[in-house]
Amino acid sequence: MGNKGKRRAVAALRVIILAFFLLFVILPIYWMAITSFKPHAEIINTQQVTYFPKTFTLENYKELFEIFNYGDFLKNSIILSVLTAVAVTILSVFGGYALARYRFRGKTAMLLFFLVTQMVPGILVIIPLYTAYAKMGLIADAPHLGLWIFYVITNLPFCVITMRSFFERIPYSLEEAAMVDGCSRMKSLRKIVLPVMFPGIVAVFVFAFIGAWNELIAGIIFTSEPSAWTIPVGLKSLIGKNNVKWGAMMAGGMLALLPTAIMFMVVQKYVVEGLTAGSVKE
């Protein structure tokens, strides 16, 4: 009896917690969403707060595409983020595997170095990189290449460390068994470990993707022509000296959410479905 009551209390608590988080997340997003459907005058009206657009308009979205090249921003951001995520994921698999499965000289130093890179002020990293890049004469012709390199490098340390922790959760015995069966280390990694690791790989992919997706400062420095801008740079340019294009800004923010939202929906089941679903038979 007592147990049953307790279980019910836990279930109720869980519902409350879940509801709280939903509200916590939804309220600001709701606010942005309805703002994106309001005309400018209603948005900046200081006398009355409207919780639903009095005049419903799609003008902000139209403006975004017709006047502000949002299509370009979207394309640039998607290409850059996907390529960043691909490169980071591949490099992290090797790095993470090495850190998880080997004991070797300089490992601690290496990990500390990874952490130190996270502490260097961004602008100090951008300047020499940009200078080198300018010397190669690539700024005008391939701004995204430089940005891509920057994104890959800045996302690597965290992703390698994360990948390592995913590898560590997979029992070595699994790999050993394969190697005993005559597989080479690489083959066992590819055939046995990686499939089991898939959720971890997906997670790292998402981390790197979002890292590139939301980056602002390097985007501003590396891209100059409006057609080369990424979404954050394009949105930031909606802040003028004297006014903010609130409607277009919020519309842009909402649209920027779509690709990530779709990605979340597709991949979330891998990330949380259990990293080691079929692999724990030790």
Partner: protein, 458 residues
């Protein structure tokens, strides 16, 4: 193992290639030709606009198309979010990859000229100065020569400040706007008080509390120093007893609730939004704002008054500047072409078209009498000030780079006073102390440098 590495390498290469291809493809329309075949006919230049907006971009792209046709110069329009513009230029300048033409803000000139990031334009302008309006020759360029030794910019358009005011509120409060055409600061403060009705969320003043807070106040204080910031030796004049009184009066508007409590933390953007949104009744701002206000308010709701006269000497102290002047950067390889472009942009018909779109006052004498800038136009209050023999353009912070002061200490000292953490005298003394130290260091380090003086159109 080796196989794996190879595969990884292949992936990375594929990635590089893909990125390269994609970025390459994008440029196909414009830039490929510039890199590949730099033929004799087409010269390519880069133009950086530091204040992006749809209006500006459309104007420039249109005029650049005409330039390509007329002069055979192909120009790439580049831009950057306003707040990050200075940082971007800093990185570009240190990497020797500045665009050929850069639109430069006045308060950057200290740094830009000291670092030689932009080139003097005196030679190009020789004999042509007379084509420019007096505001340019007698104020902007006179200032530059005095402070930096050369002319560095060609103004895009002129901005002066005015007081935007709610007509409808004034009617309700029984304020006769006609009688205020010649007002002074005391009348201004009176109007602010009358327009305030906090219960109905109406405040008389749009107080600016953060970045640039002291800029506005300084002009008021200079009404008591004849428009000067420093004396000849570099001593700051702004903390005299008269100035202290003025300082207290000005901040009193905030302290006594004639401005929203939160405006202690407001910058540019909030000011205009709040005036347009109906929270505040007056707004001290540049002519540039006309366009924004027009877009969000009815014509019978607002008008513009001149900046109030000094209660001490009856003169109007008001800043005049060209916000995004054209400059040629140190990294420009074809300066002749860059100059041709600037000349083209400054042609009277282009200049007035530009000014109309972005809310500025033309800089070329030949623009003629456009009704927009006439007695009944929306810019009347601004143009009249420029024609007023009693208008004086006070001095600024000085020829040195003062960005770091503007970014923090200057307005923070005022904020501390507004929060009652220090008294007015301490705040003002601290501000003057910082400025004085900078100015004197500058005078010591630069032989022959003199303290700049207020300018008039006369």
């Amino acid at each position: 193992m080796r196989e794996g590495m190879k595969r990884a390498a292949a992936w990375v290469m594929a990635g590089v290639l893909a990125a390269g291809l994609l970025t390459g493809c994008q440029k196909e329309g414009g830039e490929n030709s510039s890199a590949g075949e730099k033929s004799q006919e087409t010269v390519s230049l880069r133009f950086l606009d530091t204040s992006p907006s749809d209006v500006r971009q459309a104007y420039f792209e249109d005029v650049f198309a005409r330039i390509e046709e007329d002069l055979g110069i192909e120009i790439t329009y580049e831009s950057t979010p306003l707040e990050d513009a200075a940082n971007k230029i800093m990185v570009m300048a240190t990497s020797n990859s500045m665009p050929d033409i850069v639109t430069t803000q006045d308060n950057w000139l200290g740094q830009f000229t000291a670092s030689e990031w932009i080139l003097p334009l005196d030679e190009y302008l020789e004999g042509k100065e007379g084509q420019f309006a007096d505001t340019v020759t007698k104020i902007v360029w006179a200032n530059q020569k005095e402070m930096y030794g050369h002319i560095y910019t060609v103004p895009d358009g002129m901005m002066v400040k005015g007081i935007y005011i709610r007509k409808d509120w004034c009617e309700k409060a029984g304020i006769d706007l006609e009688s205020l055409k010649d007002w002074d600061y005391d009348q201004y403060f009176e109007v602010i008080e009358k327009l305030t009705n906090a219960d109905e969320k109406q405040y008389g003043m749009t107080y600016r509390g953060t970045r640039g807070a002291f800029d506005v106040m300084m002009v008021y204080l200079q009404g008591f120093t004849g428009g000067r910031t420093y004396d000849e030796e570099g001593n700051c004049l702004l903390n005299s007893d008269e100035c202290l009184d003025a300082f207290e009066k000005f901040t009193g508007m905030y302290k006594e609730g004639y401005a929203p409590e939160e405006s202690i933390n407001w910058g540019f953007v909030e000011m205009v939004d709040n005036f347009c949104g109906g929270l505040t009744g007056t707004l001290n701002n540049d002519s540039e704002v006309v366009v924004s206000v027009q877009n969000s308010m009815e014509d019978d709701q607002w008008t513009v008054l001149p900046i109030p006269k000094s209660t001490k000497d009856g003169k109007i102290y008001n800043t005049v500047n060209a916000p995004y002047s054209y400059t040629i950067s140190k990294d420009c390889e074809n300066q002749e072409a860059a100059w041709k472009v600037i000349e083209y942009l400054s042609q009277p018909e282009n200049n007035i078209e530009y000014c109309k779109q972005v809310g500025m006052i033309p800089v070329m004498k030949e623009v003629g009498d456009d009704p927009l800038y006439g007695e009944d136009g929306v810019y009347a209050a601004f143009v009249e000030q420029l024609n007023n023999p009693d208008m004086v353009v006070p001095t600024g912070y000085g020829p040195f780079d003062s960005t770091d002061l503007q970014q923090g200490p200057l307005y923070q000292e005022i904020q501390k006073y507004l929060l009652d953490e220090q008294d007015a005298k301490t705040a003002l003394d601290n501000i003057c102390g910082m400025l004085e130290e900078r100015m004197k260091t500058y005078l010591d380090e630069n032989e022959g440098a003199v303290v700049d003086t207020p300018k008039t159109m006369q």
